[in-house]
């Protein structure tokens, strides 16, 4: 459904005119319902790749190659066509949920606006659907949350609101940029589980950007390891972990601290039996 070929991004220095290559001719594709993880360290180009897909690359940057979403060339799309693609086909979940919501509007407006204004669903229907969407992401006191302003909700709660908003448009492709990095580990587990469950229920494709290799392995079908703007290798999480093709991937896997280094028993699976 998504086909990216030889994607390049170059930014020119405003003074010298000298160009820096930020993305170096990357190719990858995504099947319907598939989740691809972009993993790598800071500056590797993973977030920049998402920005190119959304057409929000930095001003003055030169994008090359091609990005095709269900046969439509995203790099050639302009104006109304691009707006429609963003509204209907793509949904972004960013690291900071505050960026997605207008701080002076209540959560209800955020969800209803997305459905009513951008997609023409009648307001009353959109309101009913907003509550339903919140229940789907595990929010039970929907009335309180719908009536809240963003600053009144925790980061984990807000990120679930953003996921509900992303789901409201029934997009084809979810773009998740470190969606749980700012959350506590328990909240992260819940939010990632919700994201994974919703994605599978709706058969959505997803690109999941993260620096956390084990997190990416848990929710993605394939991982692309990036370094200095280039995709070094793409493989299943097992391939990347156990049979890395490049020295960099091997070193990256070896560098991460492990909770249970080989040979130590993990926490017993019945560790929380009293609570289930």
């Amino acid at each position: 459904m998504l086909n990216v070929e030889h994607l390049t991004l170059a930014v020119a220095d405003p003074d010298t005119g000298e160009e820096t290559e930020i993305l170096r001719g990357n190719s990858f594709s995504l099947r319907q319902g598939e989740a691809l993880g972009l993993v790598g360290e800071s500056g590797s180009g993973k977030s920049m790749t998402l920005k190119c897909l959304l057409g929000i690359e930095p001003g003055g940057a030169r994008v090359g190659g091609s990005i095709e979403l269900d046969g439509t060339d995203l790099l050639a799309a302009r104006g109304e066509q691009l707006r429609r693609i963003r509204a209907n086909d793509l949904a972004l979940i960013a690291q900071n949920p505050h960026g997605a919501l207008n701080p002076v509007l209540r959560v209800e407006r955020f969800l209803v606006e997305g459905m009513a204004d951008a997609r023409g669903i009648p307001k009353a229907a959109a309101k009913a659907r907003a509550a339903d969407l919140l229940r789907q992401v595990g929010i039970t006191d929907t009335e309180r949350v719908l009536g809240s302003y963003p600053h009144q909700l925790s980061g984990g709660m807000l990120q679930r609101v953003v996921i509900a908003g992303a789901m409201s448009g029934e997009p084809k492709l979810l773009l998740a940029d470190e969606p749980t990095t700012a959350l506590d580990v328990t909240t992260q587990a819940e939010v990632v589980a919700i994201l994974d469950e919703k994605r599978r229920q709706h058969g959505l494709s997803m690109i999941f950007v993260t620096h956390d290799l084990d997190l990416a392995a848990a929710v993605c079908d394939r991982l692309a390891v990036m370094k200095d703007g280039a995709i070094l290798e793409i493989g299943t999480p097992d391939d990347i972990r156990d049979r890395p093709k490049t020295e960099y991937t091997r070193a990256l896997m070896a560098a991460r601290p492990l909770l249970h280094p080989a040979g130590r028993a993990p926490v017993p699976a019945n560790g929380t039996e009293a609570h289930e």
């Binding site: 506590d184 601290p257 993990p266």
Partner: protein, 275 residues
């Protein structure tokens, strides 16, 4: 007090007022001890009180009740220069964001020089420069880094400077508050190696504040797990990470991504209703 204990916190209590009526108890009768030359990890999520504990221990924050003793002497917030100097000789702190302890308009050498002026009055200008280069060599930096401004250094290099700054006081204890949390994994591994080497070479004691349980395995001897201002479980690294007994510790471990990990729903409900 056993002579083995370098740091002792007893019955610490600290409340913050939020708005006019409500308050948050960041530390609720918290006691802990650290043995000389070991690393105690303080683990918890946001709002657990772990950073407040660190700040009380270094004297940046006052506890309403309880006491902190370093080498048997009580530590209290003070404005007296001689007491501040004496305390900073005992305990230094390294923060998550090294930028905060560096002057962005001066080369990083200026920050170290300032520490040396205070703590090594015996050294002249040339002596301080020599000591600075020694400290930089210890943390894996060179003269080239010394004359750079913070903005010219990477995150890992800045954190090394922050560690060199702490070492300049030749402290007994270093409190590390999420000191490796913002670093990329490859850089994080290097800084963790550096901290381990410095500890064994200098017999330093660490209080290591973190939210990341995987890092705990790599650095700590003992662990306390905090939640909402209380210590819910304490033990050795093996006890906490391999044989946890408190349901909250088990939940934290279960939620940490690791090979073969699968996220599951219901964690937040479990936190709200069962813990």
């Amino acid at each position: 007090m056993s002579e083995d204990l370098i740091l002792e916190a007893v019955g610490l209590r600290r409340t913050f007022h939020v708005g006019r009526r409500s308050s948050v108890t960041a530390l609720d009768d918290v006691s802990c001890t650290v043995r000389r030359g070991t690393c105690l990890a303080v683990v918890g999520e946001s709002g657990s009180g772990k950073s407040t504990l660190a700040r009380v221990i270094v004297g940046l924050e006052t506890a309403e009740a309880g006491a902190v003793r370093i080498d048997g002497n009580e530590v209290r917030p003070t404005t007296s220069r001689s007491r501040l100097r004496a305390r900073s000789k005992l305990v230094q702190m390294v923060f998550q964001d090294p930028q905060g302890s560096l002057n962005r308009s001066l080369p990083v050498s200026a920050t170290i020089d300032e520490m040396l002026r205070v703590h090594r009055p015996d050294l002249d200008r040339a002596g301080r420069r020599a000591r600075l280069l020694e400290l930089f060599a210890e943390v894996g930096l060179t003269e080239r880094h010394a004359d750079a401004k913070p903005s010219a250094l990477s995150g890992g290099q800045k954190q090394r400077v922050a560690i060199a700054r702490a070492l300049a006081a030749e402290p007994e204890i270093i409190v590390l508050d999420e000191a490796v949390s913002a670093l990329d994994v490859s850089v994080q591994a290097q800084v963790l190696d550096l901290l381990a080497r410095l500890r064994s070479e200098k017999g330093l004691t660490y209080l290591f504040i973190t939210h990341d349980l995987s890092v705990v395995r790599a650095v700590a001897d003992d662990v306390i797990v905090m939640r909402r201002g209380r210590i819910v479980e304490r033990g050795t690294v093996g006890e906490i990470l391999d044989r946890p007994t408190h349901p909250y510790t088990r939940l934290l471990l279960e939620c940490a991504p690791q090979p073969g990990w699968v996220p599951r729903r219901g964690v937040i409900e479990q936190l709200a209703h069962q813990l």
